[in-house]
Amino acid sequence: MKALIDSEISRAHTKPHIRGFRRPLMAVPVDGIIKQSTPSSSLRFAFGNVLAFFILLLIGVLAFSIRLFSVIKYESVIHEFDPYFNYRVTQFLTKNGIYDFWNWFDDRTWYPLGRVIGGTVYPGLTLTAGTIWKVLHSLNIPLSVETVCVFTAPVFSAFAAWAAYLLTKEVKGTGAGLTAAVLLAMVPSYISRSVAGSYDNEAVAIFALIFTFYLYIKTLNTGSLFYATLNSISYFYMVCSWGGYTFIINLIPMHVLLCIVTGRYSSRLYIAYAPLVVLGTLLAALVPVVGFNAVMTSEHFASFLVFIVIHVVALAYYIKGMLSPKMFKVAATLVISVGLVVCIGVVAVLVAVVASSPTKGWSGRSLSLLDPTYASKYIPIIASVSEHQPPTWPSYFMDINVLAFLVPAGIIACFSPLSDASSFVILYLVMSVYFSGVMVRLMLVFAPAACIMSGIALSEAFDVCTRSIKYYISKLSESLQTDAGDIVPGNNTSPQSDVIKTDKKDDLLKERPSRKNKKKEKENIEKPSVKSKTEKRPLVLPVEASIFALFLIILLAAFYVIHSVWAAAEAYSAPSIVLTSHSHDGLHVFDDFREAYAWLSHNTEVDDKVASWWDYGYQTTAMANRTVIVDNNTWNNTHIATVGTAMSSPEKDAWQIFNSLDVKYVLVVFGGLVGYPSDDINKFLWMVRIGGGVFPHIKEPDYLRDGQYRIDSQATPTMLNSLMYKLSYFRFVETDGGKGYDRVRRTEIGKKYFKLTHFEEVFTTHHWMVRIYKLKPQRNRIRGKTKKSKSKTTSATPRSGTTKRNPWH
């Protein structure tokens, strides 16, 4: 059975090379002639297709189920930070409907500014989950919104695997497609973003990305306007889903340009590209968050430029066909000389327009893509996010594992022969490698490319090895049976007429005629097909080498599977709001975040404002339903800097800043008691940096001792007096009998005994991971105590200086 599958894959392989050329010509007779050499193929394809269908089904199941580790090991819950926002938006959508969703002004966040959610959010994911929920409810399947959200990502990763199959099939045939699909189904990089509960844009967007590429290649191979339209719609879905759509709208023009430059222009290329730009841009502009950006920002200029170029080229080809070669030469020189002048003028205007805008028309995130050091130099808020950092080599190995080694082999396989489709895949790979090197988050875009390339490489290698073995076996059997050759040609010619008809419909009608012919044909014609192939491709390895190579390939694949399962189970399935640790007395659960959020939601007033560092904004609004000052949608740097300034100011100043923002509670995350490393003290440098970037009286050197943020006895007084230090370590020393040992920083804290004058501890969770403080009300002025008030006025003089620091006064 194994051998049979292998031969199926290898058989399926040879076809698309031919198809790539044949399709656009609609050359039906040629089809038949080519197919004559493999008369048994219709049955084998029929069987192969059923097999491929079931393999795909299993791949889908695999992709879905490998992502369920998080539900099984932890629980069915939304993960991390951004998914909580998406979940909240989905809840709003299902409760209030689509029109309210578009007009939703959220007053629970960015107090007192608020945020227009409908116009600033990529709605694809939300609408998808909302639609699924609605369909299920119309069928009386009362799944909760949460359940739908939790399982959206695994479902879409199954879709993504199927899309990868389709794309790779267009490039290199079914075998490579299946291999790529199975690789993508469990590539750790994608798993990290799409485990059950990781309800984020990327989960849906990767599917949309691959599917858009597939439709582009499909259009390119067929020249069908139908697929071109589908392609625009798929692109629209991608625009709805993720900001990464700019990758598509830059990559496809690049590929078009590449085709034109290498002389591969054809009407198919025009059909694949022009409708995408026109329809795609129009559709993209419908998405509120994109709007006029679709024509106004520099990210989209490349597509319009290439749109002009392709029209010029098309015109040139058209005129070339009309005029005689000599006339064409004259016309060309004329046009080029005039055109050059015009072009220079246009470009000059364009450059002037772009240069006049402060960021040169590029958004900060895009700029940091082009210049990897841009963000760390200029925008601390982008640099402060760990997923915006450049990746390290281990992270490549962690995220794509053996694919990193298979990719070069895939590139080589794509060059033999180089088609439009394979050149696109190569370009995709190269670009995504670059982007993944800039930002670890974009490893996600690179992963599908790596899977496709590795799928091609693996299936090609498999192909060669199995072919060699089969060749060896056939030679062996030939030498044993001398009369075997007589039977073969007889069978070879008889069903010819059927085959011609069969193959023509083969792709259009899903193998139906071949089903009808099933009984007529027999399954004994393996040898001639092998023979014909070996004649076509002389690359045959020695049998021992190929068996050994096969063994190694399977070993490699097994290693990849083991790694992926490990990554899915251990590394990427923790929901980050619940932490667990294994100790000698069993599993210990740290559920402090939800403890704090539940406390906030039940025991504070509905309109109370909670200030925290922006990381916890989404979670606070979603789980505690309280108004926050800043959240993970970091659109207003000044506002975040205000909170950063408050956190790094002394208590009194911080109280004034928070009071002017109507803040009632301050929430800090503190890991010192249990050793939770990503707490607010470790994030403190970003508060100082971002705060100091806007309010210059916060100076980073004040917090540094020997170039380090320290909280031990060496810490600077500014550090020890900052609000963050005080709120984190308030009465911490009493937990371990006077030592105050911080388990994250592995040191005793610097200032152990102190009191809070303007804040009051109102809640601390069981493991001290979240501490909530309340702003004390302003103290009443006490009458009759003139002496004290006098001393206060004297001490108030320096304080009036500090009040000026308050950016809200």
């Binding site: 899903k510 009051e760 501890e761 601390t764």
Partner: protein, 505 residues
């Protein structure tokens, strides 16, 4: 006119007290003394007035029949150990009238009626070893003309009491939310003190020859109690009486101020959904809104004190609750709307299951928490077939969590799709509604019997029955629907594959 002021007397004294204390909170102890003196004087005067007025009115204002009865001995035991007040009243009633009496009336002051959760009565016959208990029927009486809006409950005796005959009746009733925290707000380090108001003598429409009242407090820490001689405190018991020859409607307000650190766990709203599946499962989902109804927490909450000194810090708070679930319970979950709550333990045994749950955070006074408990049960333990072919569900009514008061409970019994004529039999009065619920693949919807009741105590955990008609064929509706959908899907696929719909030939 005088009688109208009767029940207001405790209120007046309260106003005086509260007012004076609120004015000068820092000099509390001194004021307490003053107030105590003032109050006892006041109550003495008022009770004297009350007695006078009653002796005036006894002949004219009361309905004719009760006066013919009199109570020979009355003993009242009030248990203030938890926040649910359980009172046992043992009466020996004698008929002095000529005609036989079939009813005995009980009177309650209006504030108590509001908080009265349950009242039961039984007739006691025999003594010591031969003691037998016969439950009696208690109904709210339509007598509305008690002084100051006193409400009556009427006990129907088994046999009418003949002239001169006597009978022993034991009445037990439960009061909820009658302990008033004072001070209203406490900080983390303070114990919880509460006030209990009642009368030293039993409010009754009949004259009582001899009566005693014993009040049990949870600890010896009693700040103060109204002295109505003879009264005494022996360890955790306060004894009032014996008082002799009290006229009808005598009422002497007493006020007991004592420490009670028991968890004041109140479920503000409990929605239980009991879903019957004839495939063998009974699924119960309970939505709780829990609140600590004791003295409100004031100021900050210090975790370090709470963890290091649990005996003096947050003594009135509670961390965990125990829910008693039926035996053979399975797939228990405990979560709230932001996910699973990991702090719970399930102990199952042959006779019962105990689920120990901890809310996400300890509940201090006034803090709230919401959560959901869900579990499955084997259907054969709870669903039976009655003699007339109807099926009935036999399930407990109340809240499974021990020692909690439920302000409002809603039991929703979801019957399987296709069942008809649902009817509920509940041993006490409830509001009954019908609804329809649509869940997995329902077409006509499932009938839901909704039973609502307010002020529910653990004693309400008795069984109720829901009867309905059901044909077993309906069990197959959904599997058949699913299979037919797939069948038609495959038929369509086959048909499509056998059709040639291409235009080009």
């Amino acid at each position: 006119m005088l009688a109208k002021t009767l029940f207001r007397t405790p209120d007046i004294s309260q106003h005086l007290r509260l007012g004076s204390i609120l004015l000068l909170p820092r000099e509390k102890t001194r004021v307490n003394m003053e107030v105590f003196v003032a109050r006892s004087r006041l109550t003495l005067i008022l009770s004297l007035l009350a007695l006078l007025s009653l002796s005036f009115r006894s002949s004219s204002s009361l309905p004719s029949s009760p006066s013919e009865l009199q109570i020979l001995t009355a003993e009242r035991r009030i248990d203030l150990a938890s926040h649910i007040i359980r009172v046992v009243l043992t009466l020996k009633v004698q008929n002095d009238g000529a005609s036989p009496a079939s009813n005995v009336l009980l009177a309650f002051p209006p504030p108590q009626v509001k908080h009265l959760a349950l009242i039961q009565a039984a007739e006691i016959t025999g003594k010591k070893k031969k003691k037998a208990v016969h439950p009696l029927d208690v109904k709210p009486s339509d007598h509305t003309d008690g002084p100051n809006g006193a409400k009556f409950f009427s006990i129907s005796l088994r046999n009418p009491l003949t002239s001169g005959g006597s009978v022993s009746v034991e009445v037990s009733y439960i009061l909820t939310q009658s302990l008033e925290p004072f001070p209203v707000e406490i900080s983390q380090s303070e114990p919880q003190l509460v006030l209990y108001r009642d009368s030293s003598s039993i409010l009754s429409p009949y004259a009582i020859k001899q009566q005693t009242t014993v009040i049990r407090t949870p600890s010896t820490k009693v700040e103060s109690f109204t002295r109505v001689e003879p009264s005494s405190q022996i360890r955790t018991e306060l004894k009032y009486g014996p008082y002799v020859d009290q006229s009808p409607y005598s009422f002497t307000p007493i006020l007991i101020h004592f420490e009670n650190n028991n968890p004041f766990a109140v479920v503000e709203e409990l929605v239980r959904e009991i879903e019957i599946s004839h495939w063998g499962n009974l699924q119960i989902t309970e939505h709780y809104t829990l609140v600590h109804n004791g003295a409100k927490h004031k100021g900050g909450f210090s975790r370090v004190e709470y963890q290091s000194r649990p005996s003096i810090s947050g003594v009135s708070s509670f961390k965990h609750l125990v829910a008693k679930l039926p035996p053979r319970v399975h797939s228990v979950y405990y979560r709230d709307n932001i996910g699973n709550i990991s702090t719970s333990h399930l102990r199952t045994s042959y006779s019962k299951s105990e689920l120990e749950i901890e809310p996400r955070y300890p509940l201090l006074g006034g803090w709230k928490a919401t959560f959901v408990i869900g579990y499955g049960l084997p259907l054969q333990d709870f669903l039976f077939e009655s003699n007339d072919g109807k099926r009935y569900l036999n399930f407990t009514f109340g809240c499974p969590i021990a020692e909690t008061v439920v302000n409002k409970i809603t039991n929703k019994v979801v019957l399987p799709e296709g069942s008809k004529n649902p009817s509920a039999v509940v041993p006490f009065s409830v509001d009954n509604r019908a609804e329809t619920k649509y869940t997995y693949l329902d077409i006509v919807g499932r009938p839901v019997v909704v039973l609502e009741k307010e002020n529910v105590v653990p004693e309400h955990n008795s069984h109720f029955q829901v009867y309905y008609d059901f044909h077993p064929m309906f069990m197959l509706a959904e599997p058949l629907m699913l299979t037919s959908v797939f069948f038609f899907l495959f038929v369509a696929a086959v048909a499509y594959l056998h059709m040639d719909i291409s235009i080009r030939k």
